[in-house]
């Protein structure tokens, strides 16, 4: 993909669709022009171009004032469902799902964890029984972010209870509007209900919603999980970006909170945050240079520790203000975004960072076994 080509495509898109016109029409046209995710194939929102070009295209469109697809509203869809559908879906599935997913017309959720299958995900007990051209699904899923907004869910279910644990699973796209899908809010440590319990009772899914072959659900799920962990470290941050940003802002704006003891602790956090940022930058350089390293699993682990330590320190530094929360009502947030909430909310929400998407303990075991080669 030469530089001229994408620039011409951007120019043509902007010429035909005014940025202050219909938002959805613009996003659809952007997808059709291959400017949605340039590393995807032509015809599926991409140009078959290097991943690194995306940041350039995004910046160019942002400069022109173009609307974006509000990615925080559809994190599971963009970060996890899309790469899984691209890798394992049929041609018809790719054409059906990817465009409205990218534009945000259809929000996605993840139906993986269960009360009895958290870290041991392959132990899922939700059953999928084949009945001619449909599958009948029964079970309970939990920790399902945004299920109350979702049109579709990526679902891992047991299709063969007699096969060994990892070989009896099948991966589906679950129609969240189907009869028998019951979404109930699950209130969390912050007081809000970002998550849900999802009860599946006699849910009938046509066989063309199956992703990958029956019995190969675990392999498909691994694609999803790998992309989840990569996505967390994927966005480049500026220095002092991320969890440390409100802390250093408060430090500079409010001389009253400064003490010598706190200063050394502040700088410890600054050093850790900058080291983590440079590590993520080096990982992206490795990926761009075609020498993927195993650093990806470390990025999520470090992010969780950093976010928890920094938000905890921030509360102490704020003193009395750290005693006051903004809102305990069971809000139903639409976006995975905490920047407009109180410091107490940041502190509490960060507790989830070392649990969601693989606990820090599981990530350490993955590093020890798959990177360092230590015996199981």
């Amino acid at each position: 993909m030469s530089a001229n080509t994408w620039e011409a495509l951007v120019e043509e898109l902007l010429a035909r669709h005014p940025v202050d016109g219909d938002r959805l029409a613009f996003l659809r046209a952007r997808f059709d022009a291959g400017l949605a995710w340039v590393h995807f194939p032509v015809g599926l929102g991409g140009l078959g171009a290097p991943r690194a070009l995306q940041a350039v295209v995004d910046a160019e469109l942002a400069r022109a004032g173009a609307p974006d697809n509000d990615p925080l509203r559809n994190g599971v869809g963009l970060g996890m469902a899309a790469p899984t559908i691209l890798r394992h879906g049929t041609d018809a599935q790719r054409r059906r799902f990817l465009r409205p997913l990218w534009t945000g017309e259809e929000v996605w959720c993840q139906l993986f964890s269960e009360p009895g299958a958290g870290s041991d995900l392959a132990a899922v007990a939700t059953r999928a029984v084949r009945d001619g051209d449909t599958w009948v699904v029964d079970g309970q899923k939990v920790w399902t972010s945004l299920a109350h907004r979702a049109r579709w869910g990526i679902l891992l279910a047991r299709s063969d209870p007699d096969a060994p644990k990892h070989l009896g699973l099948t991966y589906f796209v679950c129609d969240m509007t189907a009869p028998g899908v019951d979404v109930r809010p699950l209130r969390q440590i912050t007081g809000e209900a970002e998550f849900n319990e999802v009860f599946l009772t006699g849910v009938r899914l046509p066989d063309d919603l199956r992703l990958g072959a029956p019995g190969e659900g675990w392999a498909v799920a691994r694609t999803t999980l790998m992309n989840e962990r990569v996505a967390i470290g994927g966005t480049p941050l500026p220095r002092e970006g991320g969890p440390i940003e409100p802390l250093v802002r408060a430090w500079r704006e409010r001389p009253g909170i400064r003490t010598p003891g706190r200063h050394d602790e502040l700088m410890r956090h600054w050093v850790r945050a900058e080291a983590a940022r440079l590590t993520a930058a080096r990982l992206r350089q490795q990926l761009a240079a075609g020498e993927p390293g195993p650093e990806g699993s470390a990025v999520k682990l470090t992010h969780a520790t950093l976010a928890q330590r920094i938000t905890g320190f921030e509360l102490e530094v704020l003193g009395e203000e750290g005693l006051r929360h903004d809102d305990w009502t069971p809000l139903r947030p639409e976006r995975t975004d905490v920047s407009n909430r109180a410091p107490t909310h940041r502190y509490l929400r960060a507790k989830g960072n070392s649990i969601e998407g693989g606990t820090s303990e599981i990530l350490r075991s993955i590093i020890a076994e798959r990177v360092l080669g230590l015996p199981r």
Partner: protein
């Protein structure tokens, strides 16, 4: 501000291979190894421009050399002569001394305590009475020339004319000495202002590149410990199969991965004019020094009994790591300096 390239290029990868081969074969008597590194391989002149007799290769390559020397805790004066003293001489424009240094015919050392940070004054600089001795100087025992910072500038002193008393050093692979200067002859190579800037530049670059040596120490400790816990069996299984051991080593791996990014960043910025090189150096010491100490401490602990013995090399790495964490200023000193540099002031 875009992030510079933090990876290793092909030249660096090739050099790593030949260094690792060399360091695993040459017996570790420092003098012989130094002759090969500085004389035959020309590595003492990496920071010296070609027109002054060096290789003009730059800080990234010198950092790679230090990484490998750290992995071997090699007892050679590379950091003191080829990095610190060389940087001071470059800043003073003392070209007549640079050529023999670059060609490996001469060794030089900056005569300040190894613990001196870039943010403080040298013992002879500004003192009411000049001290009789300068204590705990690194890489000075094998030096031909000592660079002595004084109130009136930076002096080059013939090392043969001073008294050098070896110190029983914590780090036995980087021998320190006390220097008594009374009656020594020398010549001034920079005035007070230039000399002070040269010392600061030398110690800043030393701090920046020491991070790569610490990275080498930490990665040896990690690799060696991982190999050991795969072999060592207790309770009928490899001790590396216990989760308590696995998770500690996973944490060391994360630390080393981060230290690599930070050390490469410091190497990429080293020698640049302006504040960012100082930020990178302070960050590098604040981060990489504790990583090396932690990796070495875990190495001793996870080796169990053998890790506590004199015959097994783990103690050499622990001593190198701990001494290096004090060299060029302790991590808290660098955190404090970093606060000033990035406008996060203590009060």
């Amino acid at each position: 501000m875009t992030t510079p390239d933090l990876l290793y290029d092909d030249t660096e990868t090739d050099l790593r291979d030949s260094l690792r081969a060399l360091l695993s074969t040459v017996d570790q008597s420092g003098a012989k190894l130094w002759r090969v590194l500085a004389g035959e391989m020309g590595l003492a002149g990496l920071l010296v421009p070609e027109e002054l007799g060096g290789a003009g290769a730059g800080h990234r390559v010198a950092a790679l050399v230090l990484e490998e020397l750290g992995r071997a805790v090699a007892p050679v004066p590379y950091l003191g002569s080829a990095v610190v003293a060389t940087t001071a001489l470059l800043a003073c424009g003392a070209t007549d001394l640079l050529r023999p240094l670059a060609e490996g015919e001469m060794v030089a050392a900056l005569a300040v305590p190894f613990s001196q940070s870039p943010y403080e004054r040298s013992p002879y600089d500004g003192a009411a009475e000049t001290p009789g001795t300068i204590t705990s100087v690194a890489d000075a025992l094998s030096a031909d020339i000592l660079l002595v910072p004084a109130s009136d500038g930076l002096w080059a002193v013939d090392a043969a004319g001073v008294t050098r008393t070896p110190v029983v050093s914590l780090d036995t692979t980087r021998q320190l000495c006390d220097i008594t200067l009374d009656g020594a002859s020398g010549w001034r190579i920079a005035d007070a202002e230039t000399g002070r800037a040269a010392v600061r530049a030398a110690l800043t670059t030393g701090a920046a590149l020491l991070a790569s040596e610490q990275l080498g120490v930490a990665s040896w400790c990690l690799d060696t410990t991982v190999a050991y816990v795969k072999e060592r069996r207790q309770f009928g299984r490899a001790v590396g199969s216990f989760q308590a051991v696995k998770h500690r080593l996973a944490d060391v791996w994360v630390d080393v991965t981060q230290a690599r990014a930070v050390a490469r960043y410091a190497a990429a910025r080293a020698g640049e004019a302006g504040r960012e090189a100082e930020v990178a150096a302070a960050l590098a010491q604040a981060h990489c020094a504790p990583v090396a100490v932690h990796a070495a401490e875990e190495c001793v602990q996870l080796h169990g009994g053998i890790g506590f013995t004199w015959e097994y090399p783990a103690h050499l790495y622990l001593k190198r790591a701990k001494a290096s964490a004090i060299a060029f200023g302790t991590p808290d000193r660098h955190r404090s300096a970093l606060g000033q540099l990035v406008d996060l002031t203590p009060a």
